[in-house]
C-alpha cells in the first residue's frame, strides 16, 4: 500500500463520520491551542519584564535595608550612608548615589485630589533613573539645600489632577494640605511590570523628610540607588558598597542588615519566576492535550469495534497485520495532526487577543509565538495521535479474520 493511498483512505473514513471526527479533533485543538497560548504568553511576559528591567539601566545597584535574623542592632540606611558611598576615594567604581524615601500621599489641585506615590529624591535622581522632562526643570541641589516646596509630577498624575499636561509649570498643588509649586512634568516611561511608573510625584529629599514622610531616625532613607561608572564595574561597586556599609553598620561578615540588588540579579530572579510560571501554565495545558489524546484512543477503539467486519474483509482479501495497523494509525495521527494545526492557529489567535487586551489596559505586552513552540506542539500532537492510536490499531490487526467476518 502506498502512502498517498493510505492518506486518502484515512481521509475518506474520517469524513464518513464528520461530527465524531471533529469532536475528537476538538480535544486536540484545545490542548494544542492552550499549549501554544500559554507558552507564547509566558514568553511575552518574560520579554516584557526583562525589557522593563533592562530599561532601568545595566549599571544600577539598589541598596535597601533588610532585617536578617542573627544581626544584632540592625541599623537603617541613612543619608550619611549615601554620602559615604558617594566618596570617590572609598568607592572609585561609583559614579552617582541617589538616596530616596517613598510614601503615598494625597495630592490636591482645586477640588480635585488623587492619592499617589511620593518620592523624596536628590538632584541626580533624573540622571540615575534616566528620567527626562516633558516640560520645566528637575529639582536642583539648591532647592534640596533650601528644602524648597517644589514638586515634579509624573504625566499620569498631572493628567489625573489637571486633565491636561501642558503649561503646568508655576501651578500650585497641595501635598497633605501644604502648597507646593509645580516645577516640571516628567516624560512618560510607559507602564512596567512594577506598576505604573508615570503615576507619581517627586519632591526634594530634604523637604520630604522634614514635612511629608516622617521616618525615625530623621535622616533615614528607604533605598539608595547607586550608579556604577560602567556596566563592567558593577561587581567592584557592589563590593565597595558592602565594605562601606559593613564598617559603618559594624555588622559581622555574612550577617548584613542591608541588601544589594544589581540589575542582573533582579533579571535572574524575574527570569526564574516567569520561567517557572511558563512551565506551570504549559504543564496544565499539556494535560488537556493528554486528555485530547485519550479522546482519540476512545474513538479509535469505538471505530475498531464498529468496523470489525471491514477489518475481517480486508484480512480475507490479503491485508496483513502491518496493513491494518498502518490504516488505523494513519487515521489517528491524521486526526491529531489536523487538530494540532487548527490548535496552533487557535493558540496564536488567543495570544494575539491577550496581547490586544493587555495593550488596551495600558500594559504593552507582546506574546511571542515562537517557531519552537509551534514545532513542539505539532510534534507532540502527532505523537499523541500515534501513541494513543497504537493500542486500537494493534487490536484491529490482531482480530481473527474468521471471527471478524462473522460479526454483524
Amino acid at each position: 500500500m502506498n502512502f498517498g493511498q493510505s492518506l486518502l483512505e484515512a481521509l475518506e473514513s474520517l469524513s464518513a463520520n464528520k461530527l465524531r471526527s471533529s469532536l475528537t479533533m476538538l480535544g486536540i485543538v484545545i490542548g494544542v491551542g492552550a499549549v501554544i497560548a500559554m507558552l507564547s504568553i509566558g514568553a511575552g511576559a518574560q520579554s516584557t519584564i526583562t525589557g522593563s528591567i533592562q530599561g532601568i539601566g545595566s549599571n544600577l545597584i539598589f541598596v535597601m535595608s533588610q532585617r536578617t535574623e542573627g544581626v544584632l542592632n540592625p541599623k537603617p540606611l541613612t543619608v550619611e550612608d549615601a554620602q559615604a558611598i558617594a566618596d570617590p576615594l572609598q568607592a572609585p567604581s561609583i559614579a552617582q548615589v541617589a538616596p530616596t524615601i517613598q510614601g503615598s500621599l494625597e495630592i490636591t489641585f482645586g477640588r480635585k485630589s488623587v492619592t499617589t506615590s511620593i518620592s523624596g529624591v536628590t538632584g541626580n535622581y533624573d540622571l540615575v533613573n534616566n528620567e527626562t522632562l516633558y516640560e520645566g526643570d528637575f529639582i536642583s541641589e539648591e532647592q534640596i539645600y533650601e528644602r524648597a516646596s517644589v514638586v515634579v509630577l509624573g504625566p499620569t498624575t498631572a493628567q489625573n489632577l489637571f486633565g491636561y499636561v501642558d503649561g503646568l509649570v508655576g501651578q500650585t498643588v497641595r501635598l497633605n494640605g501644604q502648597p507646593f509649586r509645580v516645577i516640571g512634568v516628567l516624560n512618560s516611561k510607559g507602564g512596567g511590570s512594577f506598576g505604573n511608573q508615570d503615576d507619581r510625584a517627586l519632591v526634594p529629599l530634604s523637604t520630604a523628610q522634614m514635612r511629608l514622610i516622617h521616618r525615625s531616625p530623621n535622616d533615614r532613607v528607604d533605598s539608595i540607588t547607586v550608579q556604577a561608572i560602567n556596566a563592567e564595574s558593577v561587581i567592584a561597586a557592589t563590593d565597595e558598597i558592602t565594605q562601606i556599609l559593613q564598617s559603618r553598620h559594624r555588622t559581622a561578615v555574612g550577617a548584613d542588615d542591608f541588601a544589594i540588588f544589581t540589575q542582573q540579579a533582579i533579571l535572574n530572579i524575574a527570569n526564574t519566576i516567569t520561567g517557572v510560571l511558563t512551565i506551570f501554565l504549559g504543564g496544565i495545558a499539556a494535560i488537556s492535550l493528554l486528555v485530547g489524546g485519550i479522546g482519540i484512543m476512545n474513538i479509535m477503539l469505538v471505530s475498531v469495534t464498529e468496523r470489525t467486519r471491514e477489518i475481517g474483509l480486508r484480512k480475507a482479501l490479503g491485508g496483513r497485520k502491518r496493513d491494518i495497523i498502518i490504516q488505523f494509525l494513519t487515521e489517528s495521527s491524521m486526526l491529531s495532526l489536523m487538530g494540532g494545526l487548527i490548535g496552533i492557529f487557535l493558540g496564536w489567535l488567543i495570544s494575539v487577543i491577550v496581547g490586544k487586551i493587555a495593550s488596551a489596559s495600558g500594559t504593552p505586552f507582546t506574546p511571542v509565538v515562537s517557531i519552537n513552540s509551534i514545532l513542539l506542539a505539532t510534534l507532540f500532537s502527532t505523537a499523541v495521535g500515534l501513541f494513543f492510536g497504537i493500542y486500537p490499531a494493534t487490536r484491529a490487526a490482531n482480530l481473527e479474520p474468521v471471527e471478524a467476518l462473522r460479526s454483524e
Binding site: 500500500m1 482479501l317 490479503g318 479474520p401 467476518l405
Partner: protein, 226 residues
C-alpha cells in the same frame, strides 16, 4: 484429471469455547481438481463453514494437512496466510461485504493494493469490472447499486488477482431467483472462460445441481460425494 488444486488429508478442527471442546471437523479428506466446479452442502452445524474457512486459508486446521495449489498451508503464520489469500483465493460472500464508503472501482482495487501493485492497477480493476458486466457504474458506491450489481463487484474483486480458487459462500442467498440465476451464470461463465476452480457453499439444491460434484457434510465428516 490428476492435477489437483486442493489436497486435504484428514483435516480436523477443534474449537475450545471456555472449557467445552467442539469438534467442528472430525476427519475430512478430499481432493479438488483444477477447473472443477464443486459445491459443499450440509445442514447447519455440519462443519461446512469451518471447512470453507480452512480451504479459503482464513483459518488453520487443528490436525491434518492442507495443500493449496502446491503450497502447504497448514504450517503458515498469519502474514503468510494473508499473502496466500491475496494471491490464490477469491471470496464471494452472501452479504457481498463491499466497503460501503468506497466506489466499485476502489473496492476492486483493494486486493491489488494489498498485493503491492501500483502500476496499471486501475486498468486491471477496470478489466475485471468489465468482465463481470457492471457497465458504466464503476464510480458508484455500493449503496447506489442493486444487490445483483453489488455481487458482480464482489466477483470482480474476487477474480482481480487471478486466484487459483474462488470460494463462494451462499452467493445467491441474498438475491431474488432471477438475479440469483444471473449471478450463478456469471460464476459458471468465469469458470469456463478462466478455468478458475469454483467452490460453492450452499443450502440451495438448485445451485448445487449446477455444479459437477456435490460434497455433503454431516457432523464434521464427509457423508456423501456425488
Amino acid at each position: 484429471m490428476d492435477n489437483p488444486v486442493i489436497v486435504a488429508n484428514h483435516l480436523a478442527k477443534i474449537y475450545t469455547m471456555g472449557k467445552v471442546e467442539v469438534q467442528a471437523l472430525v476427519d475430512v479428506t478430499l481432493k479438488i481438481d483444477r477447473g472443477e466446479i464443486v459445491s459443499i452442502m450440509g445442514p447447519s452445524g455440519s462443519g461446512k463453514s469451518t471447512l470453507m474457512n480452512i480451504l479459503g486459508c482464513l483459518d488453520l486446521p487443528s490436525k491434518g494437512e492442507y495443500i493449496l495449489d502446491g503450497e502447504t498451508v497448514s504450517t503458515l503464520n498469519d502474514d503468510q496466510l494473508a499473502s496466500i489469500r491475496n494471491r490464490k483465493v477469491g471470496f464471494v460472500f452472501q452479504s457481498f461485504n463491499l466497503l460501503t464508503r468506497s466506489t466499485a472501482l476502489t473496492n476492486v482495487e483493494l486486493p491489488l493494493r494489498y498485493a503491492g501493485i501500483t502500476i496499471g492497477r486501475k486498468e486491471i480493476a477496470l478489466e475485471a469490472l468489465e468482465a463481470v458486466g457492471l457497465g458504466p457504474r464503476i464510480y458508484h458506491k455500493p449503496t447506489e447499486l442493486s444487490g445483483g450489481q453489488q455481487q458482480r463487484v464482489a466477483i470482480a474483486r474476487a477474480l482481480v488477482n487471478k486466484p487459483a480458487i474462488l470460494m463462494a459462500d451462499e452467493p445467491t442467498g441474498n438475491l431474488d431467483s432471477k438475479v440469483g440465476h444471473e449471478i450463478m451464470d456469471l460464476l459458471l461463465n468465469m469458470n469456463k472462460e478462466r478455468g478458475t476452480t469454483l467452490i460453492i457453499v450452499t443450502h440451495d439444491a438448485e445451485v448445487a445441481a449446477q455444479t459437477q460434484r456435490v460434497i455433503k457434510l454431516r457432523d464434521g465428516l464427509v457423508e456423501a460425494e456425488s
